[in-house]
Amino acid sequence: MPVMTMVQAINSALDSKLADDERVLCYGEDLGVEGGVFRVTENLQSKYGRRRVFDTPLAESSVVGTAVGMAIAGLRPVVEIQFDGFVHPAFNQIVSHVSRFRYRTRGRMPMPIVIRFPSGGGVRALELHSDSPEALFGHIPGLKVVMPSTPYDAKGLLISAIEDDDPVIFMEPKRIYRAIKQEVPEGLYRIPIGKARLLSEGGNITVVAYGAIVRIVQQAMIELKKESIAVELIDARSLYPLDTATIVASVKRTGHLLVVHEAPESYGAAAEIIARVTQEAFYYLEAPPARLAGHDTPPPLPKSEDLYFFGPERVAYEVKRVLAARP
C-alpha cells in the first residue's frame, strides 16, 4: 500500500472521485495550473482537463455561489477556499444557500457540495492564514463539518463528503499536511461522517480533540504515561454531526473530560461537547469537565505564535489539573 502524507491522501481522494464520477468538478483559486498553494490538487488538471479542474477569478463568494447553481444543475462541485481566513467572503452563500436549499425546497434541490480549505495555525503564516472557524459552521443548520487528523482518515472522509448528498465543510489541518505519513489505500474507500474514533481505550480521563491537535495530545500522552496517567483519546473527526455517543461512553468509563482545540475558547466547539456530556453523563463526572483552547484573541502573527498555540506540555498540564480537581 502506498505511504502518503495528508496532502497526498487528499489528492488521491479527489483523483479517485474525479475518475469515478463525471459530475464531480474541482475548482478554486490557483487550484488548477498551479495545483493549489499547498499542492493538494497537483496534477489533477493535467489529468482531468480544464473543464473539470479549474482556476477561478479571485472571488470566494463566486466559488461557493456558483457551486450552488452547479449542484442544482446536477453536478457535485468540490470547491477549494485557499485559506481558512478567506472563507468569510463566501459566508453569505454558505449560510443563506448552501445550508438551506434542501430545507427550502423540501428536498428537491439538495446541495451535494464540498467546501475544502486548509485550516488552523502553527505554520508561521500571515494574518488570516491561521484561523479555526469550525464552531461557526457547526452552528449553521444544514452543514456537516469534518476535520481529519490522519492521511487515512482524510481520504476516507473526503470521499464520503463528496458522495454525501448534503453539503460538507471539509477542514484540512494544514499544520499536519505533511507531518504524518501513513499507508493509504489507492482507490475508493469511505469513513463515515459523524463517527468519532477512539484512539486509546482504558484510562483515567477522556480527552477529545480533532485535526492537528490529536497529534499534540498523543505527544502529551507519552509524557503522561510516565506518570501513569492513561488517556482515552477521542478524535471527534466530525463536528457536525457530532458523535456524542462515543464521547459519552468514554466519559462514563473515565469520569473525567478535557476537550482540546486551537480555536478561541468562548463559544467554541469544546463548549458544545461539554454541554452534551454534562447532559448525558452528568452523574458519571468526577470533576468539572474542562477545556483547553485558543485564547479569545485573533491568532497572533508568527512572532507570538508559540504563546498562542499550545504544545504537548500544556495538554499534559491541563490533564493533570482535571485529575487533581477537588471540590
Binding site: 477561478t56 463566486s62 455561489g65 452547479m70 442544482i72 434542501r102 427550502r104 423540501r106 448534503d166 456524542t244
Partner: protein
C-alpha cells in the same frame, strides 16, 4: 419556445420564427447605452415606434402574452387583497412590472432555466409555476418552493443578488455539459450594488456562461431611488466592466422586452456568453405589503407612471389591430379571476405542518442531534395534549 408543452396547446410553436434572421451584435451595437440609446418599440398609445426591431410575433402569441399579463396582474391584486385580510403574509406586489416578466419569459425555451428574485410573478407563471404554489409561498409555506417536475425554475431568492451566482453556476454547468440551454436571472436596480452582482457577471463573462442578467430597474430599492443607488447613467453600461453586451430597454414595453431577451438568449445560446439587460420599469405598488411608499416618493411621480402602464399599451395595440375588445377584456379578467381564486383556494387547503415536517429535509437523513430534538418536541407535544 415550445409553449405547447407548457400551456394548453392553443399556441403556434414559434420556436424558430425569428431565430435565423437575428443579427445579435447589431441590436447591442445599435443600442449602445453610452450613447443614450434605449430600445423602445411599443409606445404608450399602443403604436409601434420602431418597426425595425419589432419582433415577428403572430397575433396568437401576442394575445397569449397579453392574457398572461392580465393573469399576473389579477393574481397579484388578489394576493395583495388576501394579505390585507390576514390570509397571506408579507409579500412583494408586482403591479406595473408585468411586461418585463412576461416578455422576458416568453422569449425563452421550456428547457431554459429561470432564476427569480421575488418580483416576477408573470414570468414564473409563464414558466409553469402553478398559482397555488405562488400563493403557498405568500402563505408562509416551504411548499411554495416546490415546483412541478421538470420546471426549470429556482425558488424566490430573499438575499438580494445572491441568486445571480446560482445562475452563473447553472450556466457554467450547461457549458460544462455542452448543452444549449440558457439561464435567465432577475434582479432589481438595488441588486446592482451588492458584491455578488459584480462577481456573477464577471464569472459568467470569464467562463462564457449562457446567462441573461435581467435587471428590473423599477426605480426604487424599497425607499432608495435609483439615482442614489449608483452614479452610472444607466445600469446597462455596467456590462462594459465585464466585456459583455448591455442594453437598456423600455421595460414596460412587451415587444422591446421580448426582442431584447430573445436576442440575448440567442447570443448566450450560441456560446458568446452573458448579456445584461436593463428593463426600465416602475414599481407601481408598495415594496411589500408592509411598506408605505408615501413616506419616500411623490404621488405625482406615481401618477406619471400610470400612463405608462404595460398592459394598457398592449391592449391599445390589440384593439387597434382589431384583435381585442371590451368583451374579450372582461372574459380575460374573469378567466384570470377564476384561476386566481382556484389557486388561492388550493393553497389555503394545505393542512398545517406537523412536528415531523419541520425536521424533514434538514438533511437527507436526520442527524442524531435532530432526531433527539424531534423526539423532545414530540414528547412535549404529547404531554401538552394530555395535560
Amino acid at each position: 419556445m415550445s409553449r405547447a408543452q407548457v400551456s394548453e396547446g392553443t399556441l403556434i410553436d414559434y420556436r424558430h420564427e425569428d431565430r435565423a434572421g437575428i443579427d445579435v451584435a447589431s441590436l447591442f451595437e445599435a443600442f449602445d447605452p453610452l450613447r443614450g440609446a434605449k430600445l423602445s418599440i411599443l409606445d404608450e398609445s399602443g403604436a409601434i415606434v420602431d418597426k425595425q426591431w419589432m419582433p415577428d410575433l403572430g397575433p396568437e402569441a401576442i394575445l397569449e402574452a397579453y392574457r398572461a399579463m392580465v393573469l399576473a396582474r389579477v393574481a397579484d391584486t388578489k394576493a395583495v387583497s388576501l394579505q390585507r385580510q390576514g390570509r397571506l403574509y408579507t409579500l412583494p406586489p408586482n403591479l406595473g412590472q408585468e411586461a418585463a416578466a412576461v416578455g422576458s419569459a416568453m422569449a425563452l425555451e421550456k428547457t431554459d432555466w429561470m432564476v427569480p428574485a421575488y418580483r416576477e410573478l408573470g414570468a414564473w407563471l409563464w414558466k409553469g409555476v402553478p398559482l397555488k404554489v405562488v400563493y403557498l409561498w405568500y402563505a408562509g409555506s416551504e411548499y411554495g418552493n416546490v415546483f412541478p417536475p421538470d420546471t426549470r425554475i429556482l425558488p424566490i431568492c430573499v438575499p438580494i443578488s445572491t441568486q445571480l451566482l446560482h445562475a452563473a453556476g447553472i450556466g457554467h454547468a450547461i457549458a460544462y455539459r455542452g448543452g444549449s440551454d440558457v439561464v435567465i436571472s432577475y434582479f432589481g436596480d438595488g441588486g446592482t450594488s451588492e458584491g455578488d452582482f459584480h462577481e456573477a457577471l464577471n464569472w459568467s463573462a470569464v467562463f462564457n456562461c449562457p446567462v441573461i442578467f435581467f435587471c428590473n430597474n423599477n426605480q426604487y430599492a424599497i425607499s432608495c431611488p435609483r439615482r442614489d443607488q449608483t452614479r452610472s447613467e444607466t445600469i446597462a453600461q455596467k456590462a462594459i466592466a465585464y466585456g459583455i453586451p448591455g442594453i437598456q430597454i423600455d421595460g414596460n414595453d412587451l415587444f422591446a422586452v421580448y426582442r431584447a431577451t430573445r436576442e440575448a438568449a440567442h447570443h448566450a445560446r450560441s456560446g458568446r456568453g452573458p448579456v445584461l439587460i436593463e428593463a426600465e420599469t416602475y414599481r407601481m405598488g408598495a415594496h411589500t405589503t408592509s411598506d408605505d411608499p408615501g413616506r419616500y416618493r411623490e404621488k405625482a411621480e406615481e401618477e406619471a407612471w400610470k400612463g405608462r402602464d404595460p398592459l394598457l399599451r398592449v391592449r391599445r395595440y390589440l384593439e387597434a389591430a382589431g384583435l381585442w375588445n371590451e368583451s374579450l377584456e372582461s372574459a380575460a379578467l374573469e378567466d384570470a379571476g377564476r384561476k386566481a381564486d382556484q389557486g388561492s383556494r388550493e393553497a389555503e387547503a394545505l393542512p398545517p405542518n406537523d412536528a415531523d415536517e419541520i425536521f424533514r429535509h434538514a438533511f437527507a437523513e436526520l442527524t442524531p442531534e435532530l432526531q433527539a430534538q424531534k423526539n423532545a418536541l414530540k414528547t412535549f407535544l404529547k404531554w401538552k395534549e394530555s395535560s
